[in-house]
Structures are given as structure tokens and as C-alpha cells.
């Protein structure tokens, strides 16, 4: 498994995650944030664009060929976080599975979704609240 293939899987996963309704953006991991801190100077020179796989980390187990994909996302508050996270898991899992099969690197896919933040305020009324 080459790094190029892994990066392609991560890009595939990022596209799939961002296509899910309720996903606002993907949040970089600490590893990616540190890399960003070191390479920001290079970007001021116009030599590199923000990484398209930010917020995704993919690994393939060498012995079993199983894919493990981590997604860190920021969600809109219009939907329940659990429902959006489930959709992200399904969408990313299907996309990675299809990509891996198409490119001859198939294997079971596990997707872990982490909600790092929610955005947008939804005014909701809960039961039992009364004015003083």
C-alpha cells in the first residue's frame, strides 16, 4: 500500500463525508494541524493548497487488508448529531469500499466518526419549561 493510494482513499472519504447533509466541514487532526503550522509559510508563497483530505485519516492493516478510516467533522445543529454521524459512517464506508474494490485493494472497512463541534443555533422548545 503506497502513501499515494492512502491519500486517494482519504480524499474519497472526505468527499463522501462532506456530501452528507448536516456536515458543515471536516476538522483537521492534531497531526494535520501541526503539519499546517510548519507549512503555512510555504503556502504564503502559493506553493501548496489546503489539503483536500483534511479531517480524514485512513490506514490499511498490512496483514488483513482491513481499512480503518477516521473522520473528524463539524456538524450543523439542524439535525441530531447521532443521525448525521451515522450517515457519515455509511456514506464514507460505502465510498471507501467502492474505491478500494475498484483499485484492487479491497478489505473490510471500519469508519469511526468524531463530532468535534456543532454550528448554528436551532431554537428548540423542550417539554416542561415554564415561565417563572
Amino acid at each position: 500500500m503506497t502513501a499515494v493510494r492512502t491519500a486517494s482513499v482519504e480524499r474519497t472519504a472526505a468527499r463522501a463525508a462532506l456530501a452528507v447533509p448536516g456536515v458543515s466541514e471536516l476538522q483537521p487532526s492534531l497531526r494535520q494541524s501541526l503539519a499546517e503550522a510548519a507549512t503555512r509559510v510555504r503556502r504564503t508563497l502559493g506553493s501548496a493548497a489546503p489539503s483536500p483530505e483534511t479531517g480524514i485519516h485512513a490506514e490499511r492493516a498490512p496483514r488483513t487488508g482491513a481499512w480503518h478510516v477516521e473522520v473528524r467533522c463539524v456538524l450543523d445543529e439542524d439535525r441530531r448529531a447521532l443521525d448525521t454521524a451515522r450517515d457519515v459512517r455509511e456514506s464514507v464506508g460505502s465510498a471507501v469500499d467502492a474505491y478500494a474494490t475498484r483499485h484492487g485493494i479491497p478489505g473490510p472497512v471500519t469508519v469511526v466518526v468524531t463530532v468535534t463541534r456543532t454550528t448554528g443555533h436551532r431554537p428548540s422548545h423542550h417539554p416542561g419549561t415554564t415561565a417563572p
Binding site: 492534531l30 503550522a37 448529531a81 469511526v112 466518526v113 443555533h121 436551532r122 423542550h126 416542561g128
Partner: protein, 219 residues
């Protein structure tokens, strides 16, 4: 690359410019045509004042000057950016602090335990739910996952007005927080512990809608 204007480089008596001068950065190499790189660079910078026939016809000098122009431009951008070790360290610390601020990762109510939410993200929603109860402000909110399950304990401290009985008000907060945990987040809550830590001034008819802390310090 075209040689835009080598004379745009600041005068060499400027210490900053001396540090950043492109020719100084690469040393004094001799080109295949016999000229020193520094000489070619100086000639290019002075081209308007002293025409140089050798420069016009020499591919080695032209190539060297083009490369130095690019290096000069890059150096100047870096100089303006001043990416000192401290700046890089600050960026690293900001990244680390942002990660720490997320808090622990809590399981959402899914049997696979593959779906998680950061404690700060969940606490923000739950505090807001408590704040929606009239006369209540959430002061803190901590969430603790149970060992081996997806259930979560919520511990919250509150500031409240004393114009209504506290048990009833606490029950309202509990309902509001439980509702938000289930309907907005999808958390499985095992317990909600509430502690009233301070007192809010009740609303006055002419005051704003927001209660204030009795000591006047706000939240």
C-alpha cells in the same frame, strides 16, 4: 522566469536586506562562463546604469540571474512573514491547545461505539438547554462516559434565581438537559447531577430579560 526588477532589492547598507540578499544565501559560485554569481547579480541590479554586453548574450548569467530573482522574491516574502522559531512555536501551541480544548471523546448512542462527540461540543448544547429554563444559567458542564457502555453521566453546576422553589426548577433543568441530550445530540444519559453554585438576581420589570448574578459580576 522574467527578471522583473532586480533593483527592487533594498540597498545593501540595510542590515535586513543584507541578511536576505539572494546572492549571499547561495555563496560565491563561479559560472561556466567564468563570472562569479555575485558579479552577475550585481550586474543585473545595475543593468540600467551600466549596460553589460556579456550579460545580454550569456545564457549562464541570464539563467543565474533568473534563479536569483526567484530566490530573492521568495526570501523577501519569508522575511515579511518572519517565520521565527517563536512564531512556529506559537502556531504549534495554538494547534495543541485547540486539541486539548475538545476534551474527552464521548460515545454517541450507537451500539458499534464508532460514533463519538467531543465533550466541549456536547457540553455547549447541554448548557444552552439549561440556559433556556427561565431564571437559570449553567455555570459548568462535565460529561463522563460509563465504563464499557455508551451511557454518559452529566454533572452541571447552575446559577439560579430564588423566586421559585429550587426542586421544581431543578426538575425543569433536568428535563431540558435530558431532552437536548437525546433529541439534539443522541447521547444515552445515565444520570444528570445538578449543583446550584450561585444565585442570580431575579428579573425586574424594567430590566433586560437576562438575570444577573447577585454580586454583579455577571456569568
Amino acid at each position: 522566469m522574467a527578471l522583473d526588477d532586480p533593483r527592487a532589492t533594498p540597498p545593501p547598507d540595510d542590515p535586513a536586506a543584507r541578511e536576505a540578499d539572494a546572492a549571499r544565501l547561495i555563496g560565491d559560485e563561479r559560472l561556466p562562463c567564468g563570472r562569479l554569481v555575485s558579479h552577475a547579480w550585481e550586474q543585473a541590479r545595475a543593468a540600467g546604469d551600466q549596460p553589460d554586453p556579456h550579460m545580454d548574450g550569456c545564457a549562464f548569467c541570464r539563467q543565474a540571474v533568473e534563479g536569483l530573482t526567484a530566490l530573492d522574491s521568495t526570501t523577501r516574502t519569508l522575511w515579511a512573514e518572519r517565520p521565527s522559531a517563536r512564531t512556529v512555536a506559537d502556531r504549534v501551541m495554538r494547534a495543541v491547545r485547540a486539541e486539548v480544548r475538545l476534551g474527552r471523546m464521548l460515545p454517541l448512542d450507537d451500539p458499534t461505539r464508532e460514533l463519538r462527540i467531543a465533550e466541549t461540543a456536547a457540553a455547549k448544547v447541554l448548557r444552552r438547554a439549561a440556559d433556556r429554563v427561565p431564571g437559570v444559567r449553567a455555570a459548568s458542564c462535565r460529561l463522563t462516559p460509563a465504563e464499557g457502555s455508551t451511557r454518559v453521566t452529566i454533572a452541571m453546576t447552575l446559577a439560579v434565581t430564588l423566586d421559585r422553589p429550587l426542586p421544581g426548577r431543578a426538575a425543569e433543568v433536568r428535563r431540558a438537559v435530558a431532552h437536548a441530550a437525546e433529541q439534539e445530540l443522541g447521547l444515552a444519559v445515565s444520570t444528570i447531577d445538578l449543583r446550584i453554585a450561585s444565585v442570580l438576581e431575579p428579573l425586574k420589570p424594567t430590566a433586560s430579560d437576562e438575570p444577573t448574578l447577585r454580586d454583579g459580576s455577571g456569568r
